[in-house]
Amino acid sequence: MDATLSVEHVTKRFGMGETAITAVEDVSFDVAEGEFVSLIGPSGCGKSTLFHFIGGLTAEHGGRVAVAGETISGPHPAIGMVFQEESAFPWRNVIDNVGFALELRGMPRAERLERARHYVALVGLQGFERRHPSELSGGMRQRVAIARTLAAQPRILLMDEPFASLDEQTRLLLGEKVTEIQQQLRQTTLLITHSLTEAVQLSDRILVMTFRPGRLRRVVQVDLPRPRNDDILTSPEFGAYVAELWGDLREEASRGLQAAEHAAG
């Protein structure tokens, strides 16, 4: 199956009358099969709104999302999601959390446990298989959620700030592993982030969003070779991409901040 993801003229408003907020306005883009695209923008610019929309979890909206050219209405089997909020099931231990999607599919227990164990190790949680989320740190819980989605091996991977609660080192290493799998499985990937370095490290293309209304401001093609090892991460080219993005984002971010101050004052 072709796993191209298309987003066309998506608009989403919250509320009505004077207090209405246009969270996302007329956003269109494609993610080709096997492509890694990041979406970056200041806090509150509508990234998560777009994420829920693409995942088929929002009912009323304008515009269209298509997988392989076919409009989707509701959650699609090819799409796997990692949510921004903490989403590990508190009543399941690590291994059963990670095996959740496989369990729903009716995969035999032995096979399921083996696959789950593999992904638990991949996110660096071996030894914690029998622990419950309440016994883990916030970053570890987030890794459980990442592993749960990866274990399902979706053709299209949507991630909403999956590495936000991780320290810089873990973030780099985990980003590396995720791209490894992504390259191997040729997953179509959309990553939402507000980390500039993370976006440049992982992506083929970066979409920059504006603040209120959330529109696409610019698309940056990242022409750095893969795998993006330490040499590349420390190269001047890498730095140049980060600086370029910062130039774009700075303006949007300060507008976001002003809006927040205005609202608070």
Partner: protein, 253 residues
């Protein structure tokens, strides 16, 4: 402090306070500050235990009352949890009925026992149904509360994985609401037990409640209090069992 000691400390404190209170009461009665014809001396109550076990079939009555409460508990779960789900799903039903359920929880249902007698006869069925009616409301309300408090993202994880409706219940909604459901059940069973013993007392039929009625009529105060002690025991057994079941359920989900 070693672990075992820590674990025993709390129950030991509880038992010692009870003994101390009983000793104080005993002292008040011995010194005639409190009349022994109003409150029987604690030692008499303890002694009466053996007597009511021997002469009044208290063990069988204990099992009967516990069994009736257990039956009510099953009915409460079988009816209360689905009603909670229904109120959660239907905004209209919730707005229409939530306040009624809360009012129902506060109603002194045991006073309606003649109605239950007419409907179900002078039988255990009446008692079980009354126990159910008295205890169902907290389970409905707590189930609803647990479902409402379930974080949106957990449901979204399921939806994003094309979960079926049945799986959504079994694997997400029920486990998420389970702690609240059990809180409701603990409250509900307490209401049930109180009302069951109350109606046994009122219609002079069945287990511990009837015994309490008889002993009180014979003015056997020590025996009456000893029988009340068995009601407390039933309540404690239920609490302990529920804690185990809840822990087991949480592990298997």
């Amino acid at each position: 402090m070693p672990r075992a000691e820590v674990r025993l400390l709390a129950p030991a404190c509880g038992v010692l306070s009870l003994i101390a209170a009983a000793a104080a009461l005993q002292a008040l009665i011995v010194t005639d500050v409190v009349s022994r014809y109003v409150v029987p001396p604690p030692t008499d109550v303890v002694m009466a235990i053996a007597r009511i076990v021997r002469e009044e079939h208290v063990v069988a009555r204990f099992l009967l009352t516990s069994g009736e409460t257990f039956g009510s508990g099953l009915l409460i779960l079988a009816v209360g949890v689905p009603i909670g789900f229904w109120l959660h799903r239907s905004a209209l039903a919730r707005r229409a009925f939530e306040a009624w359920v809360a009012a129902w929880a506060a109603a002194p249902l045991v006073l309606a026992y003649p109605l239950f007698l007419v409907l179900f006869g002078r039988s255990s069925l009446t008692i079980v149904v009354l126990g159910f009616a008295a205890g169902v409301a907290p389970v409905v309300l707590k189930t609803l509360e647990g479902l409402t408090a379930t974080r949106r993202v957990l449901v979204d994880v399921g939806r994003s994985l094309q979960i079926t409706r049945g799986q959504m219940f079994r694997k997400i909604l029920i486990p998420a609401a389970l702690p609240e459901i059990f809180t409701g059940l603990r409250l509900g069973l307490t209401f049930s037990l109180i009302n069951i013993v109350g109606v046994e007392f009122l219609i002079n039929f069945g287990g511990l409640g009837q015994l309490i009625n008889e002993l009180a009529e014979r003015y056997d105060l020590a025996g009456t209090y000893a029988a009340i002690g068995f009601v407390l025991l039933a309540s404690m057994v239920f609490f302990a069992c529920m804690e185990h079941v809840e822990r087991w359920l949480r592990r298997t989900h």
